[in-house]
């Protein structure tokens, strides 16, 4: 139970995510910082972005993100900067490289398979596609040969 309690403390300690003193004066830069923050994971939390988290580490990361953005980095460069230091684990949106292609492609591939099976099934059940019974076939042959 202690484990669940700790988990709950981590997901749920509410209070503050972005604090007033972190907000950048330039609203455009701030908006970009928010977008970037939502894609980065708070490393000590459970499934929370640094934008939502109030952990100390999340705050440090938020400040770092803003620092990079103010320094002139693009969103991608900022994310790359953080990933370089904290690893792939920090990304809430996994990269589309290597084995992760499987993850990203799983939906479309499954849709193709399921769609194909479904289509084949429906085609088979079309009224005119029903197989004739042997007797019917024989009768048909007879009629045709006449």
């Amino acid at each position: 139970m202690k484990r669940y309690l700790i988990l709950f403390l981590m997901i749920a300690t509410p209070l503050w995510a972005v604090q007033p003193d972190e907000v950048l004066p330039d609203p455009v830069l701030e908006a970009r910082a928010r977008v970037v923050s939502r894609e980065l994971r708070c490393l000590v939390c459970r499934n929370e972005s640094i934008d939502d988290s109030n952990a100390e580490l999340a705050r440090d990361l938020r400040l770092l993100v803003r620092e990079r953005i103010v320094a002139g980095d693009s969103n991608e460069q900022t994310i790359a900067f953080i990933v370089d230091r904290y690893g792939e684990y920090v990304l809430l949106k996994p990269k589309t490289t290597g084995s992760n292609l499987l993850l990203w492609a799983s939906g479309p591939i499954m849709l193709l398979i399921a769609g194909w099976i479904g289509f084949a099934f429906v085609r088979k059940r079309r009224p005119d596609a029903q197989d004739l019974s042997k007797a019917e076939q024989a009768r048909l042959d007879k009629l045709l040969s006449e």
Binding site: R3, F8, I11, A12, L15, L92, S106, P127
Partner: protein, 663 residues
């Protein structure tokens, strides 16, 4: 003493479950009536024993019996009585006992109300239901016994997590479990049908209400959990794609697919194999969900290693239940012969499309949920899969589903003329697209979220109404005749209408909050006023002051804010910051001005050096439509459940049986 009674009756329930698992099944195979009939009293006894055990545990929580380890860890004498009682299932052991209680409740309901089932089918269903109970009772008794005593009881308990003291959270597990476990009925019926080798319309008429009930409970349970997160966690998020949420979402999606495919079995005697497979899958996802939540394996591999016994036990249950049922399916499914023929454009095809979309969407959620684990074990890549992935990978399926739904809903069975069928919908489509376009023009920025969301929502809501209109020949005949037809429509038609409309309302809420939410973070001093711009209106917020007071078991700092719109006061909000004295844990209580078109959501934070306070305010447009939509969906389910054909479904099968002379 009561704890021992609870423990003993749990052991007895386990013994009864073993009997109920074996004897009726043998009876059904051999055709021995008296062996089959044992299932009925056994199921009822099993339920009563489990209920007694649960009552004993609840009593221990109510009187704060700190000689029980579980009570010590999860309760406290200072808790309000309501939360002492709900604390019974606010922990691993107690929640599992509740799980089993609901399982046996469903079993006893089949025993009690199932007079019109054939003797053999009933015996088999109850036997399989009991097999699940055996597995979980064993799990409970051998790895998670809730009735363990302590040699030296402490003076007071340790469990007083203030966040969990909330009605929304306290009541959402029972709903979720009613849903999860309700799907065990569909599973038992599916496996029994595979053993019997027979699936017919009467079978579907039996399975559908159970699935529908489970789906309704899941809908309510998920909505309650989401609503709780919204008002309690302090920033108004309502869905996080957390593994625990996904665990309940996957069975919901599959149950939705199952509901629709069972219609095809019932009305057209087609899609039998697929429906059986879905019934197995739906419960499998429930089990997987239980596994995810209970073993903690997804949260971190280490959590699993901390407590391998439990994890391995559930994994074994999973393997036997899923593996066994799928093997049986593979062996027997080809014996099930579907009858109906239908063309490419037909209600049947539309429902197959629905099934494909829902199942693939559930599959995506599943892959995303387990990917961190798979990736670490198979590829050595430690990574996270969070909301941005699911938003991208899951949403398209729902968009397509919403696009085809109103068309599929009006197609006739067997063979349809697409042009003719959708003729009445052109107007609806035009209105929907026009509304979306209007939003696109009016809104600032070019994000497509809101326009698409509004178009789909209108399309779904008006489409559902149009469907009823078509059915009653609105405009094609006299108003009086249409009205007469409305009265004669089966209730399930209105169920369908509400469920589909609910989906539309929910989509609109989701799109609106995602596109139009506005936020303001600032330091404000008492006496100051500030403005927050909503998507279409501006609110002035006046910070009137802060006071402190003591609650029953916490200290609170409460801000007072007046919300004004165009200089007119619309409400006074009092967000709080609490520190619970026993745990020292801080929480926020957000304050909301709830409205149909928007919520104004205020949170107060820490005091600042300059005498100001950190204040966060949001305008959340149409956010309540999300839960309102879910409620409307559930209401649709209830309407459908009370349809006349389920109430009279009774006679159907028996009559047919009688008509055919004995084998």
């Amino acid at each position: 003493m009561t704890a021992e009674i609870g423990h003993f009756s749990l052991i007895l329930a386990f013994c009864v479950a073993i009997v109920q698992m074996i004897i009726p099944m043998i009876g059904a195979q051999k055709g021995w009536g008296s062996w089959m009939d044992i299932a009925i009293p056994a199921a009822i006894t099993q339920f009563m024993l489990t209920a007694l055990s649960f009552a004993a545990l609840m009593y221990a929580f109510a009187v704060s019996d700190f000689s029980l380890q579980l009570v010590v860890n999860n309760s406290h004498s200072a808790k309000p009585m309501l939360y002492k009682l709900t604390g019974t299932w606010g922990n691993h052991e107690g929640s599992l006992l509740l799980w089993v209680l609901i399982l046996t409740l469903f079993g006893s309901m089949v025993a009690f109300f199932g007079q019109n089932l054939t003797q053999a089918l009933k015996a088999r269903v109850l036997s399989i239901q009991s097999a699940i109970a055996v597995a979980f009772l064993a799990f409970l008794l051998f790895t998670s016994n809730p009735f363990l005593r302590l040699a030296f009881p402490p003076l007071d308990g340790q469990g007083l997590n203030p966040l969990l003291q909330d009605a929304g959270l306290a009541f959402h597990p029972p709903f979720l479990y009613l849903g999860y476990v309700g799907l065990s009925m569909s599973f038992s019926f599916a496996v029994a049908a595979l053993i019997e080798g027979q699936v017919d319309a009467a079978w579907a008429r039996w399975v559908r209400p159970w699935t529908l009930a489970a789906w309704i409970f899941l809908t309510i349970g998920i909505a309650l959990g989401s609503w709780w997160a919204y008002y309690e966690l302090g920033w108004g998020g309502w869905w996080f794609w957390d593994p625990v949420e996904n665990a309940s979402f996957m069975p919901w999606l599959i149950a939705g697919a199952l509901l629709h495919s069972a219609i095809v079995v019932e009305k057209r005697e087609s899609l039998k194999t697929w429906t059986i497979l879905l019934a197995i899958l739906a419960f499998s996802f429930s089990l997987i969900g239980t596994f995810i939540v209970r073993s903690g394996v997804i949260t971190s591999v280490h959590a699993f290693a901390e407590d391998p016994e439990r994890g391995v036990f559930i994994l074994a249950i999973l393997a036997v239940a899923i593996g066994g049922s799928l093997t049986l399916f593979a062996a027997r499914a080809s014996n099930l012969h579907s009858k109906g023929v239908f063309s490419l454009v037909s209600r049947e095809s539309a429902l197959i499309t629905n099934n494909i979309l829902l199942v693939v969407a559930a599959f995506v959620v599943f892959v995303g949920t387990v990917w961190p684990l798979v990736s670490e074990m198979a590829f050595g890549r430690k990574l996270s899969v969070g909301a941005p992935f699911f938003d991208l990978a899951f949403t398209p399926f729902m968009v397509v589903l919403a696009m085809v739904l109103p068309i599929g809903a009006v197609l006739p069975w067997k063979r349809a003329d697409l042009k003719r069928a959708i003729r009445p919908l052109w107007g609806v489509m035009a209105v929907s697209v026009a509304l979306g376009a209007l939003v696109l023009v009016v809104q600032t920025g070019t994000r497509m979220m809101a326009p698409i969301g509004l178009t789909l929502a209108t399309w779904l809501v008006l489409g559902a109404l149009a469907d009823i209109g078509i059915r009653v020949k609105l405009g094609k005949t006299s108003a009086a005749e249409s009205l007469r037809r409305v009265r004669n429509l089966p209730r399930s038609e209105f169920g369908k209408m509400f469920a589909h409309m609910g989906l539309g309302l929910m989509i609109f809420g989701v799109a609106a909050i995602t596109a139009w939410e506005t936020e303001d973070i600032r330091i404000a001093k008492p006496g100051e006023s500030f403005e927050i711009k909503g998507a279409w209106s501006t609110y002035e917020i006046r910070f009137d002051g802060v006071n402190s007071f003591d609650g029953p078991n916490y200290r609170a700092t409460q801000g007072e804010f007046t919300v004004l719109s165009n200089g007119r006061e619309i409400s006074v909000l009092r967000p709080e910051k609490r520190v619970y004295t026993v745990s020292g844990m801080p929480t926020t209580e957000a304050a909301m001005d709830i409205g149909i078109t928007r919520d104004v959501y205020l949170v107060i934070g820490d005091p600042q050096d300059n005498g100001g306070w950190a204040v966060r305010s949001y305008v959340k447009p149409f956010v309540n439509w999300i839960w309102f939509g879910a409620t409307v969906m559930a209401l649709g389910g209830v309407l459908s459940l009370t349809d006349r054909r389920y109430r009279v479904a009774a006679g159907a099968r028996r009559k047919r049986r009688q008509a055919v002379p004995a084998e």
